[in-house]
């Protein structure tokens, strides 16, 4: 089995903006991360956290104040890797007077594509993003969602190995968001690496293999999504038929008791595995049915709130 390559690597990457003559603002500070190939990597954070700064540093649109980085094995900003990447900006703007095929033809030729191969690729991509029937519209006639779809199409023109998406589902209707998710999942299935930036955590959670949470220009938490969602969450016991007497007994060992829900399921949360097993023993001894004993899993939103409020990851 071959070793998994690294699509993006940064080492102490820092960007400090100058504000006025003496003022400075740290866009991102001391960012060290590795994005393995073939994964969907999510960079999440509140507005102004440094997501877009990071993305622009990786694309060579900004220059780092300190630190280094590589994309697909090439130093940041070099044109060598740009032929193998795609980029969907946040709130994309294009030349207003062009329609979708003209726009894609323009971007396609920048990749050296031309002739029937380019025309076929344009037709495929317009179909993929659901714009085939509205291809003749000029860009200034597009809604935000339509612009977003065309932005995805232009990013896929060169069949990139690595695609950067900045707030990809922003402005899309529910169907558009599902379509976008399917496109991203399909890219991963074809071995591509996807680097997503978003604050729409509900969209990110089911897609990402790894996530990094940034806040105020600092990387707060990074890792595989399962580990991130379980970090600090403790354990839980799902049980039914818990009597009031037993509930009172387990309360001392539990950190929280949720339920029962309409199916009578009670979730008892414990700080660690030992306490969880103790709770399960008490409930089972009392005749309750134990449905599950295992690590608790929080939502990305819960983890995010903890991290941003400084309760975890520091």
């Amino acid at each position: 089995m071959g070793e998994i390559g690294i699509a993006i690597r940064t080492e102490g990457l820092t960007k400090v903006y100058r504000i006025g003559i003496r003022g400075t603002h740290k866009g991102i500070g001391d960012l060290t991360m590795e994005v393995p190939e073939g994964l969907i990597y999510g960079l999440v954070g509140p507005n102004g956290a440094g997501k877009t700064t990071t993305l622009k540093l990786l694309l060579g649109l900004l220059f780092p104040t300190a630190g280094t980085g590589e994309v697909l094995g090439h130093p940041l900003g070099s044109s060598e890797y740009k032929a193998r990447i795609g980029y969907v900006p946040d709130g994309p703007y294009f030349y207003d007077h062009l329609n979708a095929p003209e726009l894609l033809r323009f971007y396609g030729t920048l990749f050296g594509l031309r002739g029937p191969a380019l025309e076929q690729r344009i037709a495929e991509l317009l179909e993929l993003v659901g714009m085939a029937d509205r291809a003749h519209f000029r860009v200034h006639e597009y809604s935000k969602g339509m612009r977003q779809r065309v932005a995805v199409a232009q990013a896929l023109l060169n069949d990139p190995d690595l695609i950067f998406l900045d707030e990809p589902t922003a402005g899309l209707d529910p169907m558009g968001a599902i379509q976008m998710r399917n496109i991203v999942l399909d890219l991963r299935a074809r071995g591509k690496t996807v680097f997503l930036c978003s604050h729409l955590l509900k969209d990110m959670e089911p897609m990402c293999d790894r996530v990094a949470i940034v806040s105020r220009g600092q990387l707060k938490l990074e890792g595989p999504i399962d580990e991130v969602l379980q970090a600090g969450a403790g354990y839980r016991v799902r049980t039914t038929g818990l009597s009031a007497e037993t509930r009172a007994k387990v309360e001392s060992a539990a950190t929280e008791i949720v339920g029962p829900d309409e199916e009578g399921v009670v979730v008892v949360k414990a700080a660690d595995q030992r306490q969880a097993l103790e709770i399960a023993g008490l409930a089972a001894g009392d005749g309750s049915e134990i449905l599950e004993v295992g690590p608790d899993r929080r939502t990305l939103e819960e983890v995010f709130i903890d991290v941003v409020e400084g309760q975890a990851g520091d």
């Binding site: 694309l59 060579g60 900004l62 220059f63 032929a83 980029y87 294009f94 007077h97 323009f106 920048l110």
Partner: protein, 335 residues
Amino acid sequence: METKRSSGVAARSLAIVLGLVAIGLVALAVLNVGGLRLPLGALALVLLGLAAVLLLQPNLRAILRVAGATFFEARRRRFMNVVLIFAVILIGLSSFFATLSPSAELNMLLDVGLGSIRLCGMLIAVFLGSRLIADEVDKKTVDVILAKPVRRSEFVIGKFLGAWITVASFLVVMGVAFFVVFHLKAPQLVAKAQAVGLSLSLQETSANVLKATLLILFEMMLLSSIAITVSTVASWIFSAVLSLTMYFAGQLASYFHHMATFNDPHVQIVNPVLKTFSWVMYRLIPHFEHFDIREKILTHDPVYWEMVGMTAGHGVLYSLVLVALACVFFSYREF
């Protein structure tokens, strides 16, 4: 792979040789050997350009696509079309300026017609040049382009080419409109002038109009280059104001030269600060006044093709230096 590497080494070696020859030519041009300062300088610049092409190996296709997109986008700007229509109307009206004598009427036709082309060309060159890159940055369209395998220098060169093509196309439209008006009106005005004993030649006047129009074309190419270069580091408004300032200062080139070299012992000494300032202005600012040959035409002074060529060459060389500067400035720009 090996072949590609060896051809790369050969290209680099050739570029170094060309660069060294160019440096030698620059030295000869500075010394003005044989009075050939301009041809030597021009040759040096061409060789330096070739060396740069060999070293950087630009993506010509990308440059042409950016230039094409710039042209088609610029052509749709409402301001440009309004100016063009205004210019064509003004040129058309130039034939209705009735005056006392046939000679003065012909002069009025030439003055108003060429003046209209120059004025409208100036507006188009300044406002197009100032906004081309600024708009790309403001609308963030540049982000998507620079995330593709397009170097910043290729983008800038494409923008210059697009601007020059646009300015040239607008000037061609205005020039054609003027030629039509001129050829409708001029023969009878020349005939009237000849009837009262004035020696005017329609053929010579037509050739002079062509020379004047060509010089306006190179002048506006240079002016748009200034505007684009400034806009790579400043806002479009600053760029427009600075370009216009340079344009009007460039009309005073001979005045600056006179002030810088003023050395009459009978007259009070000119302030040394003013003298230095004049010298810097004369050396730094393009000599736009040389592009305006209306006065020569109106006073029936000869306008030689050599002079037209030298002035156009001055514009081209200055523009190429500005392209290089713009590429350097833009390479440090963040988005």
